[in-house]
Amino acid sequence: MISEDALRLRKVDWRVFFRRYGIVISFFLLCLALSLLSERFLTWTNILNVLRQSSINGIIAVGMTMVILTAGIDLSVGAVLALTCVVTADLLQKGLSVPLAMLTGLALGAALGMFSGLLVSRLRIPPFIATLGLMTVSRGLALTYTQGMPITALPASFNFLGAGSIGPIPMPIIVAGLIFLIGYFILTRTSLGFYIYSLGDNPVAARLSGISVSKVILFVYALSGFLSALAGMVLIGRLDSAQPSAGYGYEFDAIAAVVVGGTSLAGGEGSLFGTLVGALLIGVLNNGLNLLNISALWEGVVKGAVIALALLLYRAVK
């Protein structure tokens, strides 16, 4: 009897192991393959490229992970990014100081997120619908606000966030790294993190155990909006311009990073470490397609196949 139990335990352990670290194995296999195919892949500049290019998606994906952990989804991230981008850039052009414009942009992002949070928690509108609505409205407002024109020529001090660097490390990577650390701390070391997990795991039990469900939901959506705005600031810095069409389709990249990273769309299960690897996997994949000069007509096919393979690899072992 005991040995059977032990056996079952071991099986479960393997399952957890692959669920958690399988994607890391897939990630390293992809890196290995790319370094064999292109001698440029494992160079310092290229590694920085991949990290810098993954940083915007990574920042958004931190918020998305928390939203998905509560069994929600946030489709508005790309549009909120665009709206906060153009508003911040416009304020800067009107002569507002850099810190003040940034704070306004970030606050706007958080407020927009909070709006979805209210719709979800108070009015019980399904997250998919609530954030889809916010996505359409935000994108429309961004277009109306700018009349469809990009806003350019921003103060150099503002662009530091996207284009600057501390020592050899570009700022976007530092920002993304900090956000991941803070997110990791919240999820693993605070009661708020525990509430987020329990809410996704079993909302009824969470409510009965005295967790203020609506506050937790409000927090995760506000955070997602805030981080979208922050990612937008990094993007403006990188491009030296803010465009109403910015961030188009970013919601899918962020959701892909979260899901590839092993977080369950049903909520309650997953980790930011997985999301980090997921975002890097997508970044490495885009980078590899460019390095190997894969034809545009094949790009989608290759991308989809590699992601499916990466997921299959650890699901199959399981």
Binding site: S38, R40, T43, T45, N46, N49, R52, Q53, F115, L118, L119, R122, L123, G133, T136, V137, R139, G140, L141, L143, T144, Q147, M149, P150, T152, A163, L235, R238, L239, D240, S241, Q243, S245, A246, Y248, N286, N287, L289, N290, L291, N293, I294, S295, A296, L297, E299
Partner: protein
């Protein structure tokens, strides 16, 4: 409290929708230009534009109106406000007013087909401008020649590189006609220069942020790049940003579309050239071709509108 919240949110939502949907400028009602010329039969042409809430089509209308006054024909201009239903009723109106010819810039290549057929039944010749129609009988299609534009960009780049060097092509969204035609023209020209090598050909989806990251990657993959042609200005502006950040100089960039940012970059010397469409010429040619046809002359079924290369010398 809860009810108040619901009402407030509802109002906000509706307000947001209204703001995002409402046209930002009141669209002008159909305007008529009349120039009497009693000596010969005076034609009346109808021009149906997809939208006048876009500077491109306003310039197109101005070009058409100028040409109409010159030719002594009446031009009725109608705005479809990007709405296929409005477009259908505009064309119906023109058919019942028995105009001599209809020039249409469709909102959608498929949605316009029934209207074109109605005009065909009434024996009114139809011409399409800028965007084509996927059915019905069209006398001529008048549009910018993207293939010629790609060639123009290729020739310019080849000359600027002294006919040798390593070139990167940033492609538009795979499968779109703009990307296909611009790429086709460019690559046809490049074949004539054996010393120019295209070292990378990647898509950046007509997007500035993608242009930036894709070109960052290409810069790592290729230690030597002398020239870049991008299928639109957004991508080339992203690529310039990437090259600047990486400290790579001496690359000649050529874009397409001549958007405001690109013209500024040309003036600043960051962008060598960009290809500009000429909506005003498009309107002029439309009226010219329609009048020619009405006078019984034969016209080509496809009328390419010439493009213009904008460089530092002629930047507006």
């Amino acid at each position: 409290m809860k009810k108040l919240l619901i009402v407030a949110i509802g109002l906000l939502l509706i307000g947001g929708l209204l703001v995002s949907c409402a046209p930002s400028q009141p669209s002008p009602s159909p305007t008529t230009t009349t120039t009497p010329s009693p000596t010969e039969k005076k034609f009346t042409l109808g021009l149906v534009l997809s939208t006048l809430n876009n500077p491109f089509f306003v310039t197109l209308r101005d070009g058409a109106q100028a040409e109409a006054s010159k030719q002594g024909v009446t031009l009725i201009v109608m705005d479809s406000q990007n709405d296929s239903a409005k477009e259908a009723s505009n064309i119906e109106d023109l058919v019942s007013r028995k105009v001599d010819a209809i020039l249409v810039n469709p909102t959608d290549a498929d949605a316009v087909v029934p209207s074109v057929k109605k005009a065909n039944d009434a024996k009114i010749p139809v011409f399409t401008i800028d965007r084509g129609a996927n059915g019905g009988v069209i006398v001529s299609h008048i549009a910018s020649d993207n293939v010629a534009g790609g060639k123009m960009a290729g020739e310019y780049l080849a000359k600027a590189l002294n006919e040798k060097g390593k070139v990167v092509e940033l492609e538009g969204i795979a499968g779109t006609s703009a990307a296909r035609d611009r790429g086709k023209g460019f690559n046809e020209v490049m074949k004539n220069y054996p010393n120019i090598e295209i070292v990378a050909r990647q898509t950046a989806d007509f997007d500035r942020a993608k242009g930036l990251s894709v070109f960052e990657n290409i810069l790592t993959a290729q230690s030597e790049i002398n020239g870049v042609f991008a299928h639109n200005d957004e991508m080339v502006l992203g690529a310039i940003q990437a090259a600047e950040a990486a400290g790579r100089t001496g690359i000649i960039f050529v874009g397409f579309d001549a958007i405001d940012d690109a013209i500024k970059a040309v003036k600043d010397g960051k962008l060598a050239a960009t290809v500009q469409q000429q909506p005003s010429v498009m309107g002029e040619l439309g009226v010219q071709i329609a009048v020619k046809h009405l006078k019984g002359e034969t016209v080509e079924s496809s009328i390419p509108v010439p493009l213009k290369l904008i460089t530092k010398e002629n930047a507006p």
